[in-house]
């Protein structure tokens, strides 16, 4: 795994979301944003193990995945601004990012609902004898929805070329996972469907990258699959919106301090040449400025657009 690229991708997501935080009070983004700050290594680690033709499905917390898979930043920013140049012409917003050219198949704001679609997509790839795979990302909360188990069942039965990735950030909105599960070993539940499952601790995108690489090989070379990974991670910001939420009292500030102490950005930065860091930072800054300017400069959709795209 190319560590410089890894760093670059993580930093890019971090900076984009920081820019969103900065912009938010201006009311230019008039829609909910679910930030991934702190969770970037998961999307980046997994997506660096994929090829452009592989396909990903995600959730409303989708900026990191969209960017990690190669989604266009200008179109994303324009989408958040509600502009017609956005990836969904402004009709989707932050919760519904899509970039077909880069295999970002869309994200749902109803928890758990894109999981079976990923299974169906993978079924189709297999039927079409395609040489690519599907990866679906979801929070640990989605593992409480019945449709998750229905999806495991069919995926295992048909041995589809699919990797499930649970981003376990411990919370669903403000509810801690232990208040919702009697049995906290999520992998056990998946294995019981005959699907190999593994938990990866400590926000470890590199370990996830290697695991996804191996799984992808096993799928493409030996027809193995599906696979499941539970990636332990942590969200730094509030569930939705640009702020923090320690004041609400549902989690303690020292819980986050522990995670922040292992900030992947800082850790990786320590390993790299300062000149490289400066260059990367500048490139990212320029890209973000360009994207914001693009979004700012783009028009809103015309009123007639209200009625288009309902039917083909």
């Amino acid at each position: 795994m190319h560590r410089q690229n890894y760093y670059r991708e993580i930093l890019r997501i971090r900076r984009v979301e920081e820019e969103i935080i900065r912009l938010y009070p201006s009311d230019k983004i008039m829609s909910p944003v679910h930030l991934s700050i702190g969770q970037e290594p998961i999307s980046v680690g997994a997506c660096m193990a994929l090829q452009p033709e592989d396909v990903v499905f995600g959730t409303y917390r989708g900026h990191a995945l969209y960017l990690a898979k190669g989604g266009d930043l200008r179109q994303m920013m324009a989408e958040l601004f509600g502009k017609v140049t956005g990836c969904a012409r402004g009709k989707g917003g932050s919760m519904h990012l899509i970039d077909l050219a880069h295999g970002v198949m869309g994200t749902s704001a109803v928890v758990g609902t894109s999981i079976p679609q990923a299974v169906g997509y993978a079924y189709a790839l297999k039927a079409q004898k395609s040489k690519s795979i599907v990866v679906v990302f979801f929070g640990e909360g989605a593992m409480e929805e019945g449709v998750f188990y229905e999806s495991l069942q069919f995926a295992a039965l048909k041995k589809v070329p699919l990797i499930f990735i649970c981003e376990n950030n411990l919370y669903a909105i403000h509810s801690h996972s232990t208040g919702r599960h009697a049995q906290p070993r999520h992998c056990d539940r998946v294995e019981a469907f005959g699907i190999p499952a593994r938990r990866i601790e400590n926000n470890d995108g590199e370990a996830l990258h290697d695991a996804v690489t191996d799984a992808r090989n096993a799928i493409l070379k030996h027809g193995a699959g599906p696979f499941f990974f539970e990636a332990m991670t942590y969200r730094w910001q509030e569930h939705v919106g640009p702020g923090t939420d320690w004041h609400l009292g549902y989690r303690e500030e020292n819980e986050i301090s522990a995670w922040k102490a292992c900030d992947p950005v800082l850790k990786l930065a320590n390993e790299l040449d300062p000149d490289i860091l400066t260059r990367i930072d500048a490139e990212i800054q320029a890209e973000i400025e360009d994207a914001v300017a693009f979004a700012e400069g783009s028009p809103f959709p015309q009123v007639e657009e209200l009625y288009t795209d309902v039917y083909a």
Binding site: K91, S114, P116, G120, A127, S151, V310
Partner: protein, 348 residues
């Protein structure tokens, strides 16, 4: 040339012919490979097209609908079947929150070419949970089309069109209509969705009926003819988008509108037809309106009550007669119970 076949055979033929020419078409659903072949509508198709394209599914309506949507996103054209419409109630999230919204939500960048077949049950004590007709729910939601053909001819043509359509289409069948026969060309043909059919012309009353109620209304129209009353029977065929123009043209002439929906009335299709007519004709009054449908209760199992739950030839004819010529008397003997109901034997 003049081949008469059953509606269920027409459905099977439509699927077969589309699968033969378009290998993106796949067929999935519980019991699809069943020896009885879903009332014959899927018979032999697995053998012909293989288990990858035609397969039985686990009992997981919501998940499997999601799977079908995912396959559609990947370029396949799935047909997903349900032996009762009641089971769609488990799949509303995927159908309404995903299938109907995908194209819009992503600014037109992708769509869901999916056909969902659902069969309305009736008779032999189907009871509360095997008798529901929920087409109005789907018509309420933008982004999904709803078709409910009642002749074998329309069934074949509309199903072929539904399969070719780039939108999610709910294709509603009725098990009492499955056996109805009509002329059906052997070659494939597509009928446009959104086009109503005038099943019999008339001058005094416009009768709009859906599903099995079309069969009952057809008989009612025949009975009324013997009394010298003239009814124009319209089968909307497509519930959404609705061909209002055909209905308005008829009402313009007849000044009387009776809607007999194969479903509950409240906030449903029958209300929509009346509302559109009221809006269209406005103060230009002198139009009389009525509607019939399921009794506003849960469907009872016992025949003694089930019989009253549905409109039938007699009370449709009586209602229409009363609207045209108040006070006219209609003998119940002219209106025997429908043979598809009296002859039906279970065990399901």
């Amino acid at each position: 040339m003049d081949r008469i076949i059953k509606c269920s055979e027409a459905i099977r033929e439509a699927i077969d012919q589309e699968m033969a020419v378009d290998e993106r078409v796949i067929l999935l659903g519980q019991g699809i490979d069943d020896a009885k072949g879903m009332w014959g509508t899927t018979l032999g198709l697995q053998k012909k097209y293989g288990e990858e394209r035609v397969f039985d599914t686990p009992l997981a309506e919501d998940g499997m609908t999601g799977v079908a949507i995912g396959a559609a996103l990947a370029g396949l054209r799935p047909i997903h079947t349900h032996i009762r419409m009641d089971f769609l109630v488990l799949a509303m999230n995927q159908l309404v929150n995903i299938a109907a919204k995908t194209r819009y939500m992503y600014g037109g960048s992708l769509g869901v070419p999916l056909v969902v077949r659902a069969v309305i049950g009736r008779s032999w004590g189907q009871g509360a949970q095997h008798s529901q007709a929920l087409h109005s729910w789907f018509a309420h939601v933008p982004g999904i089309k709803v078709v409910m053909p009642t002749t074998a001819y329309d069934a074949k043509g509309c199903l072929i069109q539904a399969i070719r359509d780039d939108n999610p289409v709910l294709f509603v069948e009725h098990r009492m209509v499955h056996q109805a026969q009509s002329h059906v060309p052997i070659e494939p043909y597509a009928l446009p969705l959104g086009k109503a059919r005038i099943l019999s012309s008339g001058t005094q009353l416009t009768l709009v009926a859906t599903g099995h109620m079309v069969m009952e209304s057809m008989r009612a129209a025949e009975v009324l003819k013997t009394l010298g009353l003239s009814v124009e029977l319209i089968d909307p065929v497509t519930i959404s988008p609705l061909d209002s123009a055909t209905i308005f043209n008829s009402v313009e002439k007849t000044r009387r509108l009776l809607v007999v929906d194969n479903g509950w009335l409240n906030c449903g299709f029958s209300a929509e037809v009346l509302a559109r007519s009221a809006e269209h004709f406005q103060g230009a009054g002198n139009i009389s309106y009525a509607r019939m449908g399921f009794a506003p209760v849960t469907c009872p199992t016992t025949k003694a009550l089930e019989r009253q739950f549905y409109p039938n030839v007699f009370n449709i004819a009586a209602k229409a007669a009363d609207m045209i010529a108040p006070g006219i008397s209609l003998s119940e003997e002219l209106c025997p119970e429908a043979p598809e109901i009296t002859l039906f034997r279970g065990p399901f």
